[in-house]
């Protein structure tokens, strides 16, 4: 459904150029929950911005249903990490969720129903007429998720959405996103730097290398479809996958550093 094809992104030009993404290639299938995990600063956000059409790639392309993405696609939604800055503070929860629907021209009743259903699915029905800044961080992120759901995307991109909430809220939000994903049957691409989170949520994990980013490896998560914070995390398979991903990221990181050393040593020996 979504195909990342030899994607490369370089910021700047000439000597100052920073190669954020080297050469990326992977696919996301229909209804799949794909977690993208990698070391910090590995261009995960750059990748998401290219996917959402906010940023043009330097080379390669991303295709959604075989159509090249060159601007934000109509049936794609994006949830940012900074919930506080992605909600409109002058709009109530209801208005925030309803606002992107305006251009869909659905008719008032249908739009209101979508909004109410989405807000209900994130358990915020009692807060429809509150303002985002009256809510806690976790609730604000739920508003952002409701807004994405009401938009009826076929693919939902999430950029480290739970990185700035506390641990308990985070666990609740993880379960919430699995639940709404089932309800709405939406494809999810979830970027995170948290290995546990990627194993807990994903059907498949794409491990990235440090910048210039490439795919280190892709692995299927062979855990029961219904996840549970306690049971799933006690599953030996969970521990195995977690350790595997951890080593995969560490290996590349440590491999990247001493690589240069042998080349330099003879030079210093000669002088």
């Amino acid at each position: 459904m979504l195909k990342v094809d030899h994607l490369a992104k370089t910021y700047g030009e000439g000597d100052d150029a920073v190669r954020a993404i080297g050469d990326l290639e992977f696919e996301v299938g229909e209804n799949e929950f794909v977690c993208i995990v990698g070391p910090s600063g590995c261009g995960k956000t750059t990748l998401l911005k290219c996917m959402s059409g906010l940023l043009a790639p330097t080379r390669g392309e991303i295709r959604l249903h075989d159509r090249r993405i060159d601007g934000p696609p109509e049936r794609m939604a994006l949830v940012f990490q900074e919930y506080g800055r992605s909600l409109y503070p002058w709009m109530s929860v209801r208005q925030n969720v309803a606002f992107p629907l305006r251009r869909k021209r659905l008719g008032r009743e249908i739009a209101a129903e979508l909004v109410e259903r989405a807000v209900e699915s994130v358990d915020l029905t009692g807060f429809l007429d509150r303002y985002p800044w009256e809510l806690s961080g976790g609730m604000q992120q739920r508003v952002a998720i409701a807004r994405a759901l009401a938009y009826q995307p076929e693919i939902l991109l999430m950029d480290e959405p739970f990185a700035s909430v506390d641990a308990q809220t985070r666990a609740d939000l993880e379960d919430l996103i699995l639940e709404v994903r089932r309800q709405y049957g939406v494809t999810v691409v979830f970027v995170t730097h948290d290995i546990d989170e990627s194993v807990y949520l994903g059907d498949r994990i794409v491990v990235l290398t440090p910048a210039p980013t490439q795919v280190q490896e892709t692995l299927d998560v062979d855990l029961p479809a219904v996840r549970d914070q306690l049971e799933t995390k006690e599953d030996p398979e969970f521990a195995r996958l977690r350790a595997h991903v951890y080593r995969s990221i560490k290996r590349k990181q440590t491999a990247a550093e001493p690589e240069r050393a042998p080349e330099e040593q003879p030079a210093t020996a000669r002088s």
Binding site: L78, P132, Y151
Partner: protein, 260 residues
Amino acid sequence: MTARRERWLGAGLEVTVPILVLVIWGLWSAGSETYYFPPLTDILSTFADTWVFERVGSDVVPSLVRMGLGFGIAVVVAIATGLLLGMSPRARRSAAPIVEFLRAIPPPALLPFAILVIGVGNSMKVFIIAFVCIWPILLNTVDGVTGVDPTLRETTRVYGITGPDRLWRVMLPAASPQIFAGMRTSLSLALILMVISEMVASTNGIGYFVLQSQRTFAIPEMWSGILLLGILGYTLNGAFMLIERRVLRWHRGARASALS
């Protein structure tokens, strides 16, 4: 508890200090024989004779109409232009030198030109007031629009919000705290320019009245006009702040929650 007492004390001071000042002024000027500083009681009784409500129709209303029109035109023109310039870096760069130049002209210097071209009527005064009020609002609008949070912009783009919805429902509200700050500055400028424009080639208005009283040595009248202008400025600013509090309620709320 102390916070509440502090607030009551503050409110009390706000009321009692001005009264105290008036009382001192009254006592000090009570037996005044000085021609230029007549007793406060004289000024107040003249004030009552003049402004309640004899000259309201002939002077106060024309003044307020000029000021309101000038300020209103400035708000509309400045916000529209500011949104445009704020959204287009190219337009902003081309307009910057012109804006900076026009803004730097001391407004009263435009009076001779305005009288020459527009004449001495109301339009000239409205033009001068509008011309001066535009700049603070324009520059603040541009600042507000360019300062819209990048995440908020990206959210707007991802959801395909473009055109009028983006302009009126995202950019304008996002810039409104700055726009209001500009409008507040312009409001006091409007009052100043209203008085100045009425002191030159005018036949009515509060500014005209003050100057005319001075020229005919009607000193209590002159003082009563100055007093009225002060009261007017104070009231307008207070009313403006009330509106601002209402419209920007979300802004104060969001800021308070971001700080906590």
